[in-house]
Subunit: 479 residues, 2 copies
Amino acid sequence: MNQNTVPLYQGLLNHKNSDPISFHVPGHKNGAMFKSVDFGTVSFNDLLRIDLTELNGLDDLHSPTSIIKEAQHLTADLYKVKKSYFLVGGSTAGNLAMILATCNPHDVVLVQRNSHKSIMNSLQLANVRPVFLSPEFDYESQIATNISYETVKQAIKDYPEAKALILTTPNYYGMVSHNLNEIIKLANSAGLLVLVDEAHGAHFILGKPFPTTAVTLGADIVVQSAHKTLPAMTMGSYLHFNSSRIDIGKVEYYLQVVQSSSPSYPIMASLDLARYYLAHISNKDKEEIIDSIENFRESLARLPQINLIAQKSDLYQADILKIIVQSNCALTGYEIQEAFEKEHIYTELADPWNVLFVCPLSEVEDYSTIVAKVERAIKHVPTEIRDKQKVDQSTPSIFTLAITYEEMRKRKTCKIPLRNAVGEIAASSVIPYPPGIPVILPGETITNNHINMLLTLKESGAYFQNNPELWDKGIDIFN
Amino acid sequence: MNQNTVPLYQGLLNHKNSDPISFHVPGHKNGAMFKSVDFGTVSFNDLLRIDLTELNGLDDLHSPTSIIKEAQHLTADLYKVKKSYFLVGGSTAGNLAMILATCNPHDVVLVQRNSHKSIMNSLQLANVRPVFLSPEFDYESQIATNISYETVKQAIKDYPEAKALILTTPNYYGMVSHNLNEIIKLANSAGLLVLVDEAHGAHFILGKPFPTTAVTLGADIVVQSAHKTLPAMTMGSYLHFNSSRIDIGKVEYYLQVVQSSSPSYPIMASLDLARYYLAHISNKDKEEIIDSIENFRESLARLPQINLIAQKSDLYQADILKIIVQSNCALTGYEIQEAFEKEHIYTELADPWNVLFVCPLSEVEDYSTIVAKVERAIKHVPTEIRDKQKVDQSTPSIFTLAITYEEMRKRKTCKIPLRNAVGEIAASSVIPYPPGIPVILPGETITNNHINMLLTLKESGAYFQNNPELWDKGIDIFN
């Protein structure tokens, strides 16, 4: 092969040089956010000069005593929790450590069904017995939101032996249940540990009109991706510990099990900077951020090819940073996303109906230019009212896997065409990415709904991780 | 607290601004290495502009089809293996995935005792039955080296049910067994999988006089820290897959379980650059690197306060990039390291007897200035011949844990003063860091040797991870 190329590095430079506009994670928006933080600019070689290791004076993430300890302490102070940990392995590492540290093999745990794959992987690694709680489906946006108070209440009644409730809030689209407070209280009073993947909510402590954060509502552990909405580097996350019931030593043990023994100092430093950035957003700043996003929303709302999903609903509180744009034309969400990319506007994700913008946590001046590009991208498409899927009544709100993880290790698997798979037990995940939430889980009995959802996703152009043979050879099932 | 400070970021800037000289990892040596690669310099904001995410065209580490696939392919091509994977979670992630993908619960595996804690953590997470093989002790350097051919042979005989042999080669000091080839052949012919933590050997494919690499000797999986001796960013590693016996799908599954679903693009790009850098070292370059390090060694050898550990021994082949300097004066290794730091020379690690320099994989011009600083640091100390520890005959060359990992989960623990701990079963690791190799493992019966080694380390100034109470309240044991 030609060893004279650097395809990955070059690919990134090409993207950079195309002057892209970022409405996706990471939250630093191609570095633009750091302009407003007065730490000067550092050259690439200078950056590598802070890509250091555990030298004397530079502390040790896995046993901090000085600068890392202090930076984590400032973070805990800001979030008003007992202890905050810097994560260099993303919220994936936080979710793994949170579950491995609190759940023993065979423990029954209640888990929100539309959780990220890192939660699902953690359940399998911890060898627990998950009971899945189905989220409510929002007809308007065609999005699975949060689990209802009633579902949690019923699950606690059905599974009194359950040890923990594992929530994902907000969902990928920034939606938070109105009942989050009541749900956490209910779980607490039933003696369940409350473990929360709040990857998309690191900025919620700014308070209203941002949605409620589990950090202040009595959750035991909350994991947040500081790189998603705060200006941290990718893989920079926080784990907030706020429990009087969990052995903190076990959490620290698993954090060093699942994370590198040579953690990245630039990522850790960016977590320090992100905390600083968040701490210095005044109420006036917040108002200006919100105003500028409101202006952007209003301009977008004028385009006939798209509808904006409302910021208020009976089902959820919405994160202002997230703008959900729904197709009102012949294009699917994926096709609209692609049209935007031709104008160098990169959004966070698409689904069959919507495109998701993640706005920066800073005032942006040139929204009008961006709106003009958005308009140019889709103005030629005739408007069209699209059929929506009805709320599915057939999926049970509470269900378990058909076989245990241990049983899965022992069974043989084979492939079967999708059309014949209903009633079989899936042997691997099927994961559209983003958002990375499995449509089908290993151990789950495959239903008509699963197949219909897969076909809808496929037809409208979704990308699936690691399933190259799904459409021709079929899906993995247990014999 | 005062939210106006950024202690971690500031700490790194302070270190950077003190003009430190790096003889430690990462291999890019404070960025100096990238000067010789013609990719220009990029500003910090520019770096954040390549801190991207899985956008169209930028591929997906966990299901690569374009630029990441190509970059990994070039790496496999250079290392002459079936497949190479970029790791963003360091060799820790590689070791976890390698062991979780190949070992089932209760499998018997043969493991080199002086392995990194990430190997030990993986064994526990995979819930296997480890059989530990003790390394040979080198009297001259006072360092535990590699396991002997005879030990492996005996272990295979004693444990015919063993599934895998897990090696660490080179050790932290760059030492590789003369018999590595024969050991791998023996294990292969006995039907054992050969899994290798070669974190410190990513540059060995340059060939002689560098030591042999397991990559070319028939190991099934080899994990390498590209950030240790190649110029990759910290947490950048490679996993090389070269097996016809291991299910590659399981390896890929566990790589996405243990690594972030939002992998860092700068780290991945640096792996691409590090591969390019290695591919372009000519024989002439190699000779120049070796010559400049030889000159440095010779100059150091003239200082009476230190002895240089030989590059050749009956027990090992040595990595030229590693220079082991042994105290020949009243100072311990730790004290010599500290003296060097006063001259802004930062080395990789110290132990009671030695200081380890990791030289860059590039020609360095100003060794004479550095030698002058080294001399200034220690010239006032009178020389002194130090007592060395005898080779320990009492530790068995093959042994198992006293209780299984499952049993450990169930048992209660308490603390006991070190002096009373002999014969008890340890409940947690005791890990001097660096190098991160546990002196005591959970489940191990505590011996007099363990206690003596701990006391020697403590007296000479070693730093221990996560054991603040070890010296006053005692060690964790199982009741």
